[in-house]
C-alpha cells in the first residue's frame, strides 16, 4: 500500500512537471547557448553570452518571435570538450531547445557535432575556425565565423604590405591552433614567404618562455600567434621580457585588442591582429546602424568595451537564429534547419548567408564574413592604411 501510494505520487509529480515544462515551452521560444564561462576561454565565452543577451532583449522588446518571447538557455561548457558534448545533450533532451548557438572553441564544437547528428538539432557556430567543422559532413552546422582558410585567404591580400620574409608559428595546441598554422602556412608558402618553426602551447599553459626562447633564436622576422586573449596577453608580455623584436601578427579574432592594451601594456604596441569586427570605427562597419545600437547597449550595461570584438559574435549568432525561426514559422529543429539555408541578414560583420560546404548530400552551412587587419600602436587601435 505504502509503495503504491509513493508510486502514485511519483507519477503525479512526473506528469505535473511534464505538464509545466510543456506549458513553459509553449510560452517562450528557447534557444540553447553552449559557451565556455569558466576555464581558459572564460573571458571570451562570457562576452559572447553577453552579446547574445543583447540580441535576445532587442528581439523581445520588439515583440519577440512568432508572438512569443525568446528565452536563452545558457550553459557553461567549462572550456572542456567532454562538458561541451554533455551540455549539448542536456540542452536538447532536458530543455528541449530546437536550436543551439555554440560552442566557441573548435575542439568544443567538434565534440558537440555528433550530438547534433544524433538528435537532428541545428547549431549556429559563432566563433570556431577549424576547417574540419564544415567539411566533415554534418548538415546541422551553420557557421558565421570565418574558418582559418578564409581568414588566411583574406590575409593573402594584406600580406605584401607587411613585408614578411620568414614566419614562425606559436599556436594553441588544439584544432583551432593547429588548423590555423596549417592554413596560414599554405598561403604564406604560396606567396613565397618562408615558414620556420610551428610551436604549440597547451591551452592552459601560462609560461611560454621556452617556446619563445626557441623562436627568438631563429632567423625569422615575424611570429604568427593563434590563441585567445588570456594566453595572448602572456605571450606578448613574455616575448617582450625576452627582448624579442620580431613582428607579431595574431589570428582568430579573439584577441580583444583593448584588453591587450590594458593588460599587456607596452608589450602590445606594434602588434598586428586579424579581427572580424571593428567597433572603434562603427561608421566603417558593414551595418553602421546595428553596430551603433549594439555598442550603445553594450556600454549601457556597463560591460568593458574590450569585449565587443568577441561579443558581436553572440549578437550576430542569435539574430541569425531569430531570422531563421521567423522564416520557419515554428520552433522545430527540422524546420529551423531548412530555414537557415534561406536565412539572409546583414550582421555586424557583413552579410550572413550560408553556402554549402563539405561532402555532397550532407553539406554544412558556411557564411563568408569580413576580415580586417588592425594594429595596436601606443595604446590605440588603428586600421593601418594598406
Amino acid at each position: 500500500m505504502k509503495f503504491e501510494s509513493r508510486l502514485l505520487t511519483t507519477v503525479a509529480a512526473a506528469l505535473l512537471s511534464a505538464g509545466l515544462a510543456s506549458q513553459a515551452s509553449a510560452q517562450t521560444i528557447k534557444i540553447g547557448v553552449n559557451e565556455p564561462l569558466t576555464g581558459p576561454f572564460a573571458a571570451s565565452g562570457t562576452y559572447v553570452v553577453n552579446g547574445a543577451k543583447i540580441a535576445a532583449d532587442e528581439i523581445n522588446s520588439k515583440g519577440g518571435l512568432l508572438g512569443k518571447k525568446v528565452e536563452l538557455v545558457i550553459e557553461d561548457n567549462k572550456s572542456n570538450s567532454t562538458e561541451a558534448a554533455a551540455v549539448a545533450e542536456k540542452l536538447i533532451t532536458a530543455d528541449k531547445v530546437p536550436v543551439i548557438m555554440g560552442a566557441w572553441g573548435s575542439s568544443l564544437t567538434l565534440a558537440v557535432m555528433p550530438k547534433l547528428l544524433e538528435y537532428k538539432v541545428p547549431m549556429v557556430v559563432e566563433t570556431s575556425s577549424s576547417g574540419k567543422i564544415t567539411t566533415s559532413g554534418n548538415p546541422y552546422i551553420f557557421r558565421i565565423s570565418p574558418p582559418s582558410a578564409v581568414e588566411a585567404a583574406a590575409f593573402k591580400n594584406i600580406l605584401p604590405k607587411l613585408h614578411m620574409k620568414k614566419v614562425d608559428f606559436l599556436v594553441i595546441n588544439n584544432d583551432w591552433g593547429r588548423g590555423a598554422a596549417e592554413d596560414f602556412g599554405k598561403v604564406l608558402k604560396g606567396e613565397g614567404v618562408g615558414v620556420g618553426l610551428v610551436e604549440t602551447m597547451d591551452q592552459a599553459a601560462q609560461d611560454m618562455s621556452a617556446q619563445l626562447s626557441k623562436i627568438k633564436a631563429t632567423d625569422s622576422d615575424t611570429i604568427m600567434v593563434t590563441t585567445a586573449v588570456e594566453q595572448l596577453t602572456l605571450v606578448l608580455k613574455q616575448a617582450a621580457s625576452l627582448g624579442i623584436k620580431k613582428k607579431i601578427v595574431t589570428t582568430g579574432g579573439s584577441q580583444n585588442p583593448d584588453q591587450l592594451i590594458d593588460q599587456a601594456g607596452a608589450a602590445a604596441s606594434g602588434t598586428y591582429h586579424l579581427a572580424f569586427f571593428t567597433p572603434w570605427y562603427p561608421d566603417q562597419t558593414p551595418n553602421p546602424a546595428a553596430a551603433k545600437y549594439f555598442l550603445d547597449e553594450w556600454k549601457k550595461r556597463g560591460y568593458p568595451f574590450a569585449g565587443t570584438t568577441e561579443s558581436f559574435r553572440g549578437y550576430d549568432g542569435i539574430r541569425t537564429i531569430a531570422v531563421a525561426i521567423e522564416k520557419a514559422g515554428k520552433a522545430d529543429p527540422e524546420a529551423i534547419t531548412k530555414a537557415l539555408w534561406q536565412t539572409e541578414l546583414v550582421g555586424l560583420n557583413g552579410k550572413i548567408k550560408f553556402q554549402k560546404q563539405g561532402p555532397d548530400g550532407k553539406e554544412s552551412g558556411q557564411s563568408m564574413p569580413n576580415v580586417y587587419l588592425i594594429e595596436i600602436k601606443d595604446g590605440k587601435v588603428i586600421l593601418p592604411k594598406l
Binding site: A204, A210, K216, A217
Partner: protein
C-alpha cells in the same frame, strides 16, 4: 649556445617558484601524512589576495605580498583546526577525501566571488626587460626569483635552526616519542599546515602578477607540486628545492629542444624514470615506521 643559456635563465626563475610550491607540500605531506589536494587552491588564494589588496584596494604591491603570506598562514591554520584536527586518527584515505572536498569548495568559492574571467595585476616594475648581452629577463621575474630564494632560505632556517623546526622534525621522525618528550603535537600540526599553506600562497602571490589569476590556476599548480615532492622525496626541503629546479629544467629543455606540445609531459617522464631507479625519490630521508 645563447639559446641554451636563455633556457637556463628561464629554468632558474621558473624553478624557484616550483620549489616554493614543493616545499610547502612536502612539509605537510612528510610531517602530517596528509595528502593536501587543496595546496593548489591555497596557491590561487595567494594570487587573489594580491589582486584584492593591490588592484581592488589600490594598496602597495609589496604590502600585498605580505598580506598573502599572512592570510595563507591563517587560512592554513583554520583548515587544520576545523577539518583535520577532528580526523587526526583517521586513515590517510579519509583525510585525502576531506582535502579533495576542501579543494572543490575553495575553487568554486573563488569562481563565485571573482568570476571565471582571468584577472591581471600591474606591478611597479618597469615593462622593459633587463638586457645583458643577448640575454634578457623581466624585472618582475627577477624579483620573483630573489623573493622565492629568500622564502626558501627562511623555511630552511625555520626547519633546521629553530626550536619549532626541531619539534617538527622530531614529530616527523616519530610522533609518539615526540609527544612523550613533551612536544605539543596538536600545535606542531597546526603550524606545519599553516607554514605549508603560507608558502603555497606566497608562490601564488609571486606568480599571479607574472601570469594571470583565474580560479583554475590551482589545478596545474597542484599537479606540479605533487610531481616535485615525488621527485625530491617526502619531507625533504632540499629535495623539494632541487626537485623544483629539476622539473623546470626538464620542461624548458623539453619544450625548447624536443617538442613544445609535450612540455608538461617532459617533467612527468623524468619522474617516471627516477622512480624506476629510486622509488623513494631522489632525496628521501630514512623513515622509521611505528
Amino acid at each position: 649556445m645563447v639559446e641554451f643559456l636563455q633556457h637556463v635563465i628561464n629554468t632558474f626563475i621558473l624553478g624557484s617558484t616550483y620549489a616554493l610550491l614543493g616545499i610547502g607540500l612536502t612539509l605537510i605531506f612528510g610531517i602530517m601524512r596528509v595528502v593536501n589536494f587543496a595546496h593548489g587552491e591555497l596557491y590561487a588564494f595567494g594570487a587573489y589576495c594580491v589582486y584584492f589588496v593591490c588592484v581592488l584596494l589600490g594598496l602597495n604591491f609589496f604590502l600585498s605580498l605580505f598580506v598573502a603570506l599572512l592570510a595563507g598562514c591563517v587560512v592554513g591554520a583554520l583548515i587544520e583546526v576545523t577539518l583535520l584536527r577532528p580526523m587526526r586518527n583517521a586513515d590517510i584515505d579519509t583525510t585525502m577525501l576531506i582535502m579533495i572536498g576542501a579543494m572543490i569548495v575553495m575553487q568554486n568559492g573563488e569562481q563565485y566571488i571573482w568570476g571565471g574571467v582571468a584577472k591581471s595585476v600591474n606591478t611597479p616594475f618597469p615593462e622593459t626587460p633587463l638586457v645583458v648581452g643577448p640575454f634578457s629577463v623581466s624585472w618582475l621575474r627577477l624579483f620573483v626569483f630573489f623573493a622565492a630564494l629568500v622564502l626558501i632560505a627562511a623555511s630552511y632556517f625555520l626547519i633546521n635552526r629553530t626550536k619549532l623546526g626541531k619539534a617538527m622534525r622530531a614529530t616527523f621522525q616519530d610522533r609518539d616519542t615526540a609527544s612523550l618528550m613533551g612536544i605539543n603535537i596538536q600545535a606542531i600540526y597546526m603550524w606545519t599546515f599553516a607554514i605549508g599553506s603560507s608558502l603555497a600562497a606566497a608562490a601564488g602571490a609571486l606568480l599571479g602578477p607574472v601570469y594571470v589569476i583565474s580560479p583554475q590556476m590551482g589545478n596545474i599548480a597542484s599537479l606540479k607540486a605533487f610531481a616535485i615532492v615525488i621527485l625530491g622525496g617526502l619531507g625533504s626541503i632540499g629535495g623539494a628545492t632541487i626537485g623544483g629546479f629539476l622539473l623546470a629544467f626538464a620542461e624548458e629543455i623539453g619544450a625548447g629542444y624536443i617538442s613544445s606540445g609535450y612540455r608538461d609531459a617532459m617533467g612527468f617522464l623524468i619522474i617516471i624514470a627516477i622512480l624506476l631507479f629510486k622509488p623513494t625519490g631522489l632525496f628521501a630521508r630514512a623513515e622509521r615506521i611505528g
